[in-house]
């Protein structure tokens, strides 16, 4: 059904493992004092050999239990984490990973963060000037433009980060549990955005524990379990399989 559509993200043989050291020697002092001791390494594979194609304009849900690899998957897809050797992540366009307060410096004001963030997304200063008011307006932060965001509540930061994503027009959006926090009114406004076909021509990957939300907005869903991709396809079926796991 998607065969004539363009691929937005492609993962080929993507695995991700983390080395967990029994003892961490993060200082020269520790290393020198423990030269003779062997350090045991535990390998934790967070993602196991994942292959998938996500098409342009799709809204894909990611579900799974805690620690199943959902967030690692989005981090690898967004480029924050490098996949292990042999794996390949191909992306078409700019991407933005959204979760609470990410990509912000708490020492900077809302205004500065909007400019820095917009610029890292590839916008020119002039373009940011044009959308600046809209971003602040949607986030309902008109009175706090020149306040350092370290004085913001988590909800305010989240609103700001959400508005930048909408107006900065990243091609691919990773929404990692961003509908979970924030007051009801804003949550409604945010989910309405999804309804307004705002994702048109863009790709959204939604990570959420709320299966209702994913059922409502996503045609396809990824079910992660213990680092493996258990199922990728029809959302209803993915949710059924997810519930069967519990």
């Amino acid at each position: 059904m998607f065969s004539n559509k363009k691929i937005s993200i492609q993962l080929k043989n993507v695995s991700k493992s983390f080395k967990i050291y029994n003892k961490t020697y993060h200082t020269i002092k520790h290393r020198v004092l423990n030269l003779h001791k062997k350090n045991e390494v535990k390998l934790i594979s967070a993602l196991k050999n994942i292959n998938l194609d996500i098409y342009k304009g799709e809204c894909v849900g990611v579900i799974g239990r805690n620690g199943s690899g959902k967030s690692t998957l989005t981090k690898v897809m967004s480029g924050a984490f490098l996949p292990d050797k042999g794996g390949e992540v191909i992306k078409d366009g700019t991407s933005l990973l959204l979760n609470l307060g990410v990509g912000f410096s708490h020492e900077l004001t809302a205004r500065e963060n909007i400019y820095v963030n917009g610029s890292t997304l590839g916008l020119r200063i002039k373009q940011i000037d044009e959308i600046f008011k809209d971003i602040v307006g949607f986030a309902e932060l008109e009175d706090f433009v020149d306040t350092k965001i370290k004085y913001f509540s988590s909800g305010m930061i989240q609103r700001l980060s959400f508005s930048i994503a909408i107006y900065a027009k990243a091609d691919i959006l990773f929404l990692d549990e961003i509908f979970a926090v924030g007051d009801e009114k804003f949550q409604k406004k945010a989910t309405e955005i999804l309804e307004r076909n705002w994702i048109e021509n863009r790709t959204a990957i939604i990570v959420s524990h709320s299966t209702g939300l994913i059922e409502q907005y996503c045609n396809r869903a990824i079910l992660m379990h213990k680092g493996e991709l258990l199922y990728f396809g029809d959302t209803g079926e993915a949710i059924e399989k997810y519930k069967a796991l519990e």
Binding site: K29, D53, L82, S95, L108, V116, T120, G122
Partner: protein
């Protein structure tokens, strides 16, 4: 289905704009935060100047002529070195928010930071020039060598900063150790000590302490109205290229894992 490599194409076209934006913000954070503002940029080197003047001219009676100018010209080089190397040590951790979730190149982050410190250097440099004219020493045509010296200093500190920040990922106590190393380098530099005395007591000092050459040549072209010592200039250039290359390679290899480790 294969995809064309469109990676980063969007992010590249506004690179210079972004570096300048980040440099401006950092400069503002550095100086505009407190009420004294940019005045602080002036007060700091001047107070250091006063302290060293009392210690070395009033108490130890150094024989160096025009000692306050001698001190100040050394100090602004030293400040640049100290602020860049010390400031860049933790950069991958403090500026993580910039590269963690976007594909922004880390080199840009270093550049922005260095440029913001360079702005402070420019400010200090103009004060040195003012001093030179007030005292009647003035400058001659050799001042035109200053861009060359600044360029060498810039890449030298850039390289050292990249090396330190990558090592910092694995050795967190570098933040404590480096200021001590810097102290040693300071005492081996002609910052307040007479350059000739230093050279006669420690042979080949220009080879293992880049700051020796940087300060010597900087004084040559400003207060001494002389061309730089070209042998030292060559040594400094080699040092800058070496440090920069090592740092750049380290960043390429080790820097990839920065967002996971830090």
């Amino acid at each position: 289905m294969e995809l064309p490599a469109l990676k980063n194409s969007v992010q590249k076209n506004n690179r210079l704009e972004r570096i300048w934006l980040l440099a401006k913000i950092e400069f503002k954070l550095r100086y505009n935060e407190n009420k004294l503002g940019l005045l602080w940029a002036l007060i700091k080197p001047l107070s250091l100047l006063l302290i060293y003047f009392i210690a070395f001219k009033v108490i130890l009676k150094t024989s160096v002529e025009n000692y306050s100018i001698y001190l100040f010209s050394g100090l602004i080089i030293w400040q640049f070195y100290l602020e860049t190397t010390d400031g860049l040590t933790r950069i991958l951790s403090t500026k993580k928010y910039l590269y963690e979730y976007s594909n922004m190149s880390k080199i840009e982050i270093y550049l922005a930071s260095l440029i913001s410190i360079l702005l402070g250097f420019g400010f200090n440099f103009s004060i040195l020039l003012t001093f030179l004219f007030i005292t009647g020493i003035g400058v001659d045509v050799n001042i035109l060598y200053s861009p060359v010296l600044v360029l060498i200093l810039f890449f030298l500190c850039f390289g050292i900063g990249m090396i330190l920040s990558n090592l910092f990922m694995h050795f967190k106590d570098l933040g404590q150790i480096w200021p001590l190393v810097s102290q040693l380098i300071m005492w081996l530099s002609p910052l307040f000590i007479n350059a000739e005395a230093l050279k006669s007591n420690i042979p080949y000092i220009e080879a293992f302490n880049p700051m020796f050459g940087m300060m010597t040549n900087f004084r040559n072209i400003t207060m001494y109205h002389q061309p730089p010592d070209f042998e030292i200039l060559l040594i400094n250039s080699i040092q800058a290229i070496a440090f920069f290359s090592i740092g750049f390679i380290m960043l390429k290899i080790m820097g990839k894992k920065a967002s996971e480790i830090l």
